[in-house]
Each structure stands twice: as structure tokens, then as C-alpha cells.
Subunit: 245 residues, 2 copies
DNA sequence: CGCAACCTTGATTCTGATCAATAAAGGTGG
DNA sequence: CCACCTTTATTGATCAGAATCAAGGTTGCG
């Protein structure tokens, strides 16, 4: 890993040298353009499990690309209810909700020790107006988030508990597989309660539904270790709601 | 209303002369910048009630700003379930889901006779790279949509039927009031079924809940004509879920 | 005017929430 | 490294809210 030493103690990692460039911000950029993107990035930041990347209400200045690790985002209501709005893994972008209003509207929490790349938004805007392909790519990332949210709405508004859980497992499976991990054998980084919050279910329902899936022989559940034994069955279960995956 | 006559039959309406400029795309632009935005707009288009502005799967080329009228957007699943993902009124932007993928991922349908301004996306990108304030404003619009979606997730994942309906009525009330209409006396443009789909409820539940609100004296319901008699009560009901409104 | 779409209301069912008890895992400090 | 404590997960029993099924009424369009 190449690191540039700036101002003595800070180290900067480069997009142009990152294994995630096929998934993350630099998608579709040529070498020269990628160098401009390197100039956008401020520095990388490490977080311990449980640490907040930012909290709702804090001033917004930067987007963050997950480099390693795993995050959740949550929106909270004053009366304590909170809703997990997303789980984020490497190459995914956190913080786009802060652009309008210049204030973060959700919390972002590391669910395991993680590292993020900080992309100051002013730099990104400036680079975008020079680089049409970066510009376009960033529009697409925001649009993709809107489409993802539509899928979650479909899931929360229309699907039954078992369909929600099947869609959830298939979604994780797909994204892990995109990153070169096993599609059907993985560790959940989030608790049953967090899964439930994301899916609009109580943790007991998540637990029961996983147990039922296991009894049917569709998955093997060992605490947080999940093996999908019959992905086709899960796919059948959400057939007709492809959008939600 | 000033209209420019281009190519004989087409007429073009101008942002610089539109009463919605405080709510719509031109927010924060000066006169010169607004002229550039006028150049972005292709033409306006009229739709009859029930007509589709676009359908899921069609190629994406333009965003649409609602000029007059009322729209819904829906995502459909093959098995017929469909989820209303939004209701849009004047000054609001439709189609941002199409940017990633260059394909519309939802249907947009006029719920009354309507008129939209067509903003070809390539024009918008081009104008954005010249006009930083337009650029920034467009980022903010996309971000606002993401934040709105988070609110809907909170609503669908955590709230009870009566809270959802209260949040829905208050949201409509707020947006109508922003447009200079009465906040507490309005006509619903959508059916009970469409409200239910948006809120993750069945139409019978919407109907029953409205009846209960009326019995309690909080609202007066006459078919599609709604009068909010005690907005404070509705507000109390969703207190602690401000985000969802 | 007649039909179709939409709405209301009631009776019943069912899914998932709640309440509760126990078990297992993971982290902490001695 | 182990004992303890906290957090997390599983499972069962019961309950409640919303869905479903059903019937009748209203509106408005062709």
C-alpha cells in the first residue's frame, strides 16, 4: 500500500491504488481523472467497533467511502424509536443525506473496526465541475441510493416477515459476492435487533423466522454465522419483488 | 404568461417567469443564471388525469418538474403488488431514480390533469458544470429526496396505522401551505387505496382510521375533502417522529 | 340512466408484537 | 485464564392491530 506523508503525521491513501476502484467512487475514471480524485480525498480515518462516524444534527462537511469494515445508519425519533436505514460495506458511500441542509440527518456507526476515506464535499463539487465523468458518476451514486430506498419502501410496505428476511439475506449475499466473498457463507455484523429495525420487525420475529428457515433446511444459522443452503428457495420467496433486493 | 414560439407549434415556458421559482429548480439563482436554466428546459407537457409521464423500464432522458397538477410514483413487482413511493405536487421533481441505470425504475402517473416541465438530463449536467449554484442546488434536491425516503422508512418501519395517517395528513398540509393553499382544508387527489399503499396499510384501514379521526373531532372527512380541525392533536400523535413528516 | 369504481362498516382471522423465562456469548477485571 | 456480568439470542404463551372476507352504499363517468 502506497501512502503519501503530508504534514508529518497524516497519511493519505489513494483511490488510484485502491482495490475497491471497481466498486467505489472511481468507477469509470481514467488514470488522469483518478489522480484528480486522489486530490479530493482528505485522509482516511479508522473507527473502532461501536464508534460513531457522525451523528444526526452535526454539521455536514464530508462524505465517507467505506474502505474496510461495516456500518449502519439510523434515523432516530425523540421518543427513542429508531430505524436502521442502511447497512454499508466496503466501497459504499455514507452521508449523502447531509448535503441538503448541511446537517447530518442520521447517525452512522461502525459495526466492526473499520476504515473510511473522507471526501470533503466542497472538493468533490469542485472536482465534479472539472471532470464530467466524476460528476455523472456521483449523480448516479445518489440516484442509486434513491432506488435502493424505493426497494426498502416496497419491502416495508408490502412484504411479509419471511419475505423481508429472505430479501435481506439475498441482498447481503449479493453484495458480499460482488466484493469477492463467499455468497452463501458469511458472518452477520449486526444484531437481530438491528436486522429487525431495518426490516420493520421485532428481534423475536427475526430470530423465529431464521429458526424456521433453518428447520426447513434453507439456511444454517449458528449465531451470526449464516450459510445459505438453498438460495433458490429464498429467491422464489421474493420472486416478484426483485426490486427489494 | 410569456411563451416563446419555437418550431412553429411548440411552446416553451420559462423558469424566469414562473411563480414556482421559490420552490423549484431555480431556488437561489440570480437573473443571469436563471436564463441559463431556461435554456436547459426543453418544453412543457400536459397530461390528462390517469396518463403516465413515464413507466418503469423506459429509457431515462429527462427529469420533470411538476408545474401544475399532482402525480404519484409507484414501484411495481411482477406479482402485482405495487407500492406508491411518493405523491408529487407543483415545484417537485420527478425521475431522479432513472439517473443511475439510465432506465426509469418507477412509474409516474398524473392523478389530475397536470403540466410538467421537461429537463433533459444532459442539458442539466452541462448547465450544472457551468453554474456552481445550480449544481449545488441539484445535489441538494437529490439529497432531500434521500432524506424524505429515510422518513418514509421510519414511518413504515416503526409507526402505527393512526400515526402514519396523521403524519401523512400533516405532510400534505405543510406542502400545500408552502404553496399558498389552505393548510387545513384540502382535497385529496388520491384514492384510499393509494394512500394505503404509500403508508403500508390496506384501504379499509385507511378508511376506518379516517372515520375514527372524524369521530374524535380531529378532522372532518367528506369523501376526498379533508378539513383538519385539530392539527395540534395530529402533531402530538406523531411527536417524536418529526423526521417522518 | 346504468355500470364501474370507490368508499364505508362489520365480522372474523391471522400475523407479528408483547410479555416472559431461559440460555448462550462476549467482554471485563481480578 | 477464569469467574462474573452484561448483552444478545432463542423459544413459548398470549395479545392486539391490521388484514381479510363480506356486504351495502355512494359517486361519477360514459
Amino acid at each position: 500500500m502506497i501512502t503519501l506523508h503530508k504534514q508529518g503525521e497524516m497519511t493519505q491513501k489513494l483511490c488510484s491504488n485502491c482495490s475497491l476502484h471497481a466498486l467505489c467512487m472511481p468507477v469509470g475514471l481514467n488514470g488522469e481523472e483518478m489522480a484528480d480524485l486522489d486530490a479530493v480525498m482528505k485522509q482516511s480515518r479508522r473507527l473502532k467497533k461501536g464508534e460513531y462516524l457522525f451523528r444526526s444534527g452535526e454539521p455536514f462537511a464530508s462524505l465517507f467511502a467505506v474502505r474496510t469494515g461495516f456500518f449502519k445508519t439510523t434515523v432516530a425519533s425523540q421518543d427513542g424509536r429508531d430505524q436502521v436505514t442502511g447497512f454499508l460495506m466496503s466501497g459504499e458511500l455514507i452521508g449523502m443525506d447531509g448535503i441538503c441542509g448541511q446537517i447530518h440527518s442520521c447517525d452512522a456507526v461502525a459495526l466492526e473496526d473499520s476504515e473510511v476515506c473522507e471526501l470533503p464535499f466542497v472538493n468533490l463539487e469542485e472536482a465534479g465541475s472539472k471532470l464530467p465523468s466524476l460528476q455523472t458518476h456521483f449523480y448516479k451514486l445518489m440516484s442509486r441510493e434513491i432506488v435502493r430506498d424505493q426497494g426498502v419502501m416496497l419491502l416495508l410496505g408490502n412484504m411479509r416477515a419471511e419475505e423481508r428476511l429472505a430479501a435481506f439475506l439475498l441482498n447481503l449475499s449479493q453484495r458480499l459476492s460482488d466484493r469477492g466473498f463467499a455468497a452463501n457463507d458469511f458472518i452477520l455484523r449486526m444484531s437481530r435487533e438491528e436486522i429487525g429495525s431495518y426490516l420493520g420487525l421485532k428481534l423475536e420475529t427475526v430470530s423465529r423466522t431464521l429458526s424456521r428457515f433453518q428447520q426447513e433446511g434453507w439456511v444454517k444459522v449458528e449465531h451470526k454465522h449464516i450459510r445459505i443452503l438453498q438460495p433458490e428457495v429464498l429467491k422464489t420467496m421474493v420472486a416478484g419483488c426483485e426490486h427489494a433486493i
